[in-house]
Amino acid sequence: MTRPANEDEYLARRVPASVRAVDRRALLRGAMGAGTLLTVPGLLAACGGGGSGSGSSTGAAKGTVTFGSNQSDAVPKAALADVVAAFDKANSGLTVKVNTVDHNTFQENINNYLQGSPDDVFAWFSGYRMRFFASKGLAGDISDVWKNVTGMSDALKKASTGDDGKQYFVPSTYYPWAMFYRKSVFSKYGYEVPKTIDDLTALGAKMKGDGLVPIAFGDKDGWPAMGTFDQLNLRVNGYQFHVDLMAGKQSWADPKVKKVFDTWAGLLPLHQSDSLGRTWQEAAQTLQQKKAGTYLLGSFVAQQFSAGAEQDDLDFFTFPEIDSTIGADAIEAPIDGYMMAKRPKNEGGAKKFLGYLASPDAQNIAVKADPSVIATNDGADVSGYTALQKKSVEFVKSAKSIAQFMDRDTRPDFASTVMIPAIQDFIKNPKDIDGLCNKIEAQKKSIFTS
């Protein structure tokens, strides 16, 4: 059977939900432990792995490792090239051949790619889809790589684990979603960071008076608005409801979901208009050009800001509290990383490369070249972080629970064929929330039970 026959069976498959109650304290404990005890061995292990392969269980790995990358944007692409160059340099017998594919194309063709002749190592992200590939036998078990991985918290290991309890994923970097703004704009007009939704509404009105777009917005590609929905849902209904809703356990016609859309409808006048024709890059530029006051996006928004002073001017705050009983301590921070093909041509080399990608060394290079993300490995050197990266680390550490993202937390068929058109319909016509929710629920029922 390709799909679970009913909802319960489907939910049962989700048991080690990567994001379910990622306990911040556990992560902190892990960070403390790993940070103090394992930093030195961690670095040593990384050096050892890079040097003669002493710690590797896969023996002498030689030859070429093919690597399918979806990092087609200039900044992350260069970051990855640096990582690969460092790996090649440290392993004389091994060469990594990078095949870069456009980010969206890679994601859309992933099914065919994995069932065809995939590269030995390929880029992917944590979440529902990672576990799905693992359970379908489309990804290689890399539990033995994890035996040598140090500096990764239990939460991260859990986020790398498939339904069968084995590891299929190596986390590399992650990035939080938040409300981004330019410090210079806020100080120029004397704005205060809003703590509650009422503060945000008041701030928006003030920004409008000052001739600014309160919240930059672009949803041409369909997915950025999912982030807005997620943030509102986390604030209105909390983390657990998000998880259950994404898992198909809760009804989309529930008054709780309607309340999310209602709240959003109230905020829409603050959003940049004509958003459906605008890409996130264009929206980010309105923030960069100081035409917009804030922008709700992942921290990759920094890629649209030039490095140095301009990025230093960029700051963020968590999406304001809506319900005081729910609070504002649930955030979204999707984890990007790497997986191994089911039958890699060069298994030894692939595992060695994956081990390297998990190491602080590799992640140091990656985050240095792309300061819009932060390293997952606690052994990574944070002293070179930009102010934005430092704040991201704090932000993620202080959050009580972390979600991934709508299209990573739920079934991709549901996210792309139902939620993208539905949210775009909502933006076009925010009045018919009942009709919208009922339509989503009808399709959800059909997809989750088919």
């Binding site: 041409k220 459906l276 024709g277 792309s416 058109p421 076009k428």
Partner: protein, 297 residues
């Protein structure tokens, strides 16, 4: 059968039979393999819930559920049907007649007809994907030529109330050149003595065209008709380049693609959509065949 006994065309030798058999079977096999098998397979898949992963045998037959879902609960479906029909009507009533008109004008030999011919045909050489980009430069809300000249601020590709029409202008731009070329080829083939005879009989230009040339061009007219219908039903690239067929630009072809090709991989559901497209195309194919078969007797 021995060669010596060969008496007429109806009695073929063994080798000839093999050759003739191969000449019939090989093309048939190719057509069946490349055309009918995929078509039938997608119709069959539309009754399953296959998600494209693992063997097809893992798919479960779910009857007409996909069709029911498409019609009842899939919001983009009816807009897509509507948009496809609008597309067809605009191509048929606007783009094609303009193309024919231009062909007639150029055929009459207006000054600089070669220049017009080349420049009007140029868009046909470009892929629709490229045309999408070219028009992006014209339509772009902030940097586009159109808004710069008119001083407007319409988001031509983003605003769902106008983007279909904006896309149709871009598609017609290409269609006009294509039809013009087809029709021009036909016009060049019309026997000049027919026109001379008409002129001798005192017919004016208009009458000559509608009463003499147009009926003579019947085969070309049918080709133009078919090309228009095919191009309208398979309209895809342009819209896909603009916004992947979302937000006011839904077409059946884009819905099929976004369900099947993307990460979603709803093969069964997408096949049901494709079957709807097949059915709509069949209507036009039947009409076409009836016109062709009904040769003037």
């Amino acid at each position: 059968m021995a060669r010596s006994r060969y008496k007429g065309i109806n009695q073929l030798s063994g080798t000839d039979r093999v050759v003739v058999g191969a000449m019939v079977l090989v093309p048939t096999a190719i057509v069946v393999w490349l055309v009918w098998l995929p078509a039938v397979a997608s119709v069959l898949l539309s009754f399953t819930n296959w998600d494209g992963i693992g063997p097809v045998s893992s798919a479960k037959v779910i009857g007409l559920k996909n069709y029911k879902d498409v019609v009842e609960i899939y919001p983009p479906f009816w807009p897509a049907i509507q948009h496809n029909l609008i597309w067809l009507v605009v191509m048929f009533l606007v783009a094609t007649p303009i193309g024919m008109l231009l062909a007639v004008l150029i055929d009459r030999g207006v000054a600089g007809s070669r220049f017009y011919q080349t420049s009007l045909f140029l868009p046909v050489v470009l892929s629709l994907a490229l045309i999408g980009f070219i028009w992006q430069l014209i339509y772009s809300k902030d940097q586009g030529v159109l808004n710069a000249v008119t001083g407007g601020s319409t988001d031509w590709y983003g605003d769902p109330s106008v983007n279909l029409w904006a896309a149709l202008v871009a598609a017609s731009w290409r269609q006009v050149g294509y039809i013009m070329l087809l029709y021009l080829a036909g016009l060049k083939g019309v026997d000049p003595s027919l026109r001379e005879a008409a002129r001798v009989d005192g017919a004016n230009e208009r009458t000559t065209f509608f009463k003499i040339v147009f009926p003579v061009l019947r085969p070309i007219n049918i080709i133009v008709l078919v090309v228009t219908v095919i191009e309208s039903l398979r309209a895809f690239d342009l819209v896909w380049v603009i916004n992947k067929g979302r937000n006011g630009l839904e077409l059946i072809s884009t819905l099929v693609t976004s369900n099947i090709v993307g990460e979603a991989s709803r093969i069964g559901f997408g096949s049901a959509l494709a079957t709807f497209m097949l059915l709509i195309s069949s209507v036009f194919i039947v009409i076409y065949l009836r016109i062709v078969m009904r040769e003037p007797s």
